[in-house]
C-alpha cells in the first residue's frame, strides 16, 4: 500500500499523511451510514419507517443534514464549567478511538503498523477513552455528567478484564498478537472440507469465547443493554449532557468509531478478518477490504438490533454480571481452550 502511494505521490511526508488518513475516511463514511442505519433499524423494529424525507430515497441524506446543522451550531461552554478540559475532552476521546485503528488490518494490503503487539496495543490505547469521558464529566460541572463519568470509569475498568481474557484465549490458539498474522492464519477453506478456516470453527469453546467477547465489547462500547454512562431516563445524557454542536458530534463519532473498532477486532479474531468466506473466490486486497468491512458491519448491525430489543441493566446488575459471571466464565473458557490446544 505504501509503495503504491509512493508511485504517484511526490513527497515522503505526504505519503505518510495519506497512508495514515485512510482509516479516517473509512470511519467518517461509515459513521454517516451507520447513524442513518441505526435510525432505520430502530424504526423498523418499532414498526415505523424512520427517516423518509431528507434526500429522497428512504431519507438517505438525513445524517448529512444533521452534520451540517451541528457544524453551524454555536460552540456553547457552560459558565461554571472548566473551559480548557471541557473543550479538550472530545478530541482526546476521538484520538483514543482513532489511535486504535493503527493495528487493524483493513485488508490484506493495508495495516497502519505491523507492530507485533497489535491487539495489546488496541486494548491499551482505548483505555484513554475512559479517561477522556471522566474529563468531560468532571469539566462539565454538572451532577449528571459526573455520575455518568463515574459509571463509565467503573464499567470500563471492570469489563476490560473479560475482554482481555477472551482476546487472550484467541492468542493461545494463534500464538501471535499481530492481527495481520492472525488474519493470514485463517485463510483457506479446508475445515471439514468446505468451511473456511476461521477461528470460530476451531473448537466449540471458541464459539463461547466469541459470545463472551461480544457481550464484553457491548459494555466497552457503552451500547444497550450496558449504556449506563448515558442512560437518559436517569442521567439526562450522562457525560455528554452539557455538550452541544460539533463537540457533541465528536463524542457521537467516537461512539460509532468504537463500535466499528470492536466489531472489526471481533471479525478479525473470530471470523477470518479480510479472508473471503469462499476460499480463493472473490479474494484480493480490494475484496479483502470489502469482506472486512462487511463482517464488521454485520456485528455493528447486531449491536443495533440488540439496542432495540433488550432493556437496560441496573448498575448493580451490571457489576454482578461482570464480576460474578463473565470473568469466571472467561477464565474457565480460557483453560478449556488451552487444554484443547494441548490435546489436539
Amino acid at each position: 500500500m505504501q509503495e503504491f502511494l509512493e508511485s504517484f505521490l511526490p513527497a515522503g511526508p505526504l505519503v505518510v499523511l495519506v497512508f495514515s488518513i485512510i482509516p479516517l475516511g473509512v470511519i467518517l463514511v461509515y459513521a454517516l451510514f451507520a447513524i442513518w442505519l441505526e435510525r432505520k433499524v430502530a424504526g423498523h423494529i418499532q414498526d415505523r419507517l424512520g427517516p423518509m424525507e431528507t434526500g429522497g430515497w428512504h431519507g438517505w441524506s438525513q445524517t448529512l443534514a444533521d452534520l451540517l446543522k451541528m457544524i453551524q451550531k454555536e460552540d456553547l461552554v457552560p459558565a461554571r464549567a472548566d473551559r480548557f478540559l471541557f473543550k479538550m475532552a472530545p478530541f482526546i476521546a476521538f484520538a483514543a478511538s482513532y489511535g486504535a485503528f493503527v493495528a487493524i488490518p483493513l485488508s490484506s494490503g493495508y495495516i497502519g503498523s505491523m507492530i507485533d503487539i497489535g491487539v495489546l496495543y488496541i486494548v491499551a490505547i482505548t483505555s484513554l477513552l475512559s479517561v477522556s469521558i471522566i474529563m468531560a464529566g468532571w469539566a462539565s460541572n454538572n451532577k449528571w455528567s459526573l455520575l455518568g463519568a463515574m459509571r463509565t470509569a467503573a464499567q470500563t475498568v471492570s469489563y476490560e478484564i473479560p475482554t482481555v481474557v477472551t482476546i487472550l484465549s484467541v492468542i493461545v490458539v494463534t500464538g501471535s498478537l499481530n492481527l495481520m498474522h492472525i488474519s493470514e492464519m485463517q485463510s483457506g477453506n479446508s475445515f471439514l472440507g468446505f468451511l473456511p478456516n476461521w477461528l470460530i470453527f476451531h473448537s466449540p469453546f471458541m464459539v463461547i469465547a466469541f459470545v463472551l467477547f461480544f457481550i464484553a465489547s457491548l459494555a466497552e462500547a457503552h451500547r444497550v443493554p450496558f449504556d449506563l454512562p448515558e442512560s437518559e431516563s436517569e442521567l439526562v445524557g450522562g457525560y455528554q449532557t452539557e455538550y452541544s454542536g460539533m463537540r457533541w458530534g465528536l463524542f457521537m463519532l467516537t461512539e460509532y468509531a468504537d463500535m466499528l473498532l470492536l466489531s472489526l477486532v471481533g471479525a478479525t479474531l473470530f471470523f477470518g478478518g479480510w479472508n473471503s468466506p469462499f476460499g480463493s473466490f472473490m479474494d484480493g486486497p480490494l475484496w479483502g477490504a470489502f469482506w472486512m468491512l462487511s463482517k464488521g458491519m454485520v456485528l455493528v448491525f447486531v449491536m443495533m438490533w440488540l439496542r432495540w430489543t433488550l432493556p437496560r441493566l441496573r448498575v448493580d446488575q451490571l457489576m454482578n454480571l461482570c464480576w460474578k459471571y463473565l470473568i469466571p466464565a472467561t477464565f474457565v473458557n480460557l483453560i478449556f481452550i488451552a487444554l484443547w490446544e494441548m490435546i489436539f
Binding site: 479517561v131 463515574m150 470509569a153
Partner: protein, 180 residues
Amino acid sequence: MDLFAIVFYLFAILIVSTAAIMVFSKNIVYSAFALMFTLAGLAVFYALLFAGFVAVTQLLVYVGGILVLILFGVMLTTRGYFERVRIRTVYMLPSALFAGIIAVLLIAVFVTTDWTLAPLSEGDVTLAALGELLLTDFMLPFQVAGVLLLLAIIGAVLMAARKRGPLEKKGTVPDADKII
C-alpha cells in the same frame, strides 16, 4: 534535525511541562490529568526506542489502570462532588533542600558517567523472546511478582469486605454502588 530528534524534543517538552503542572497545580484534578500526559508521553519515548511492549504496558498499567483509579479516588473523596480539595504548601525548606541534593547527585552522575550508546535497531526484542525469557531464566521473579499481586488483591478484597459494625448497618452508610 531528523524526525527522531524532533519527536524526542517535542515530547520531552510535553513531559516536563505537564510534570511541572502536576506538581505545582493547586487543583488536584488538574494534577491528575496532567499526570496522564506525563505518563503517555513516557510511553511515546519507549515506542521511539522500539520498546513497543514496554510502551503498551506503560499505557495499559499507568494510564488505563492507575490513573483511572486516581481520578476515581480524587472524585469520590473530595467532600461533596464539586467542592475542591484545598492544597497547601507545607515543609517548603526541607523538601526544597532534599530535592536540590537529589538533583545535584543526579546531574553529577549524569556528567561523570561514561555513557555507551547502543545503536537503535528495530525488531531486536520480539514478544515471543520476551515471553520465553519470563518463563525460563526469570521464572522466579515472575512468579514472585504474581504472588505479590495476588496478595494485594486478596488484601484489598478483605479490607473492602470487612464486617460491618452495628452502627454501620443497612441504610446508615451509603453503599458504594449506589454512589456510582
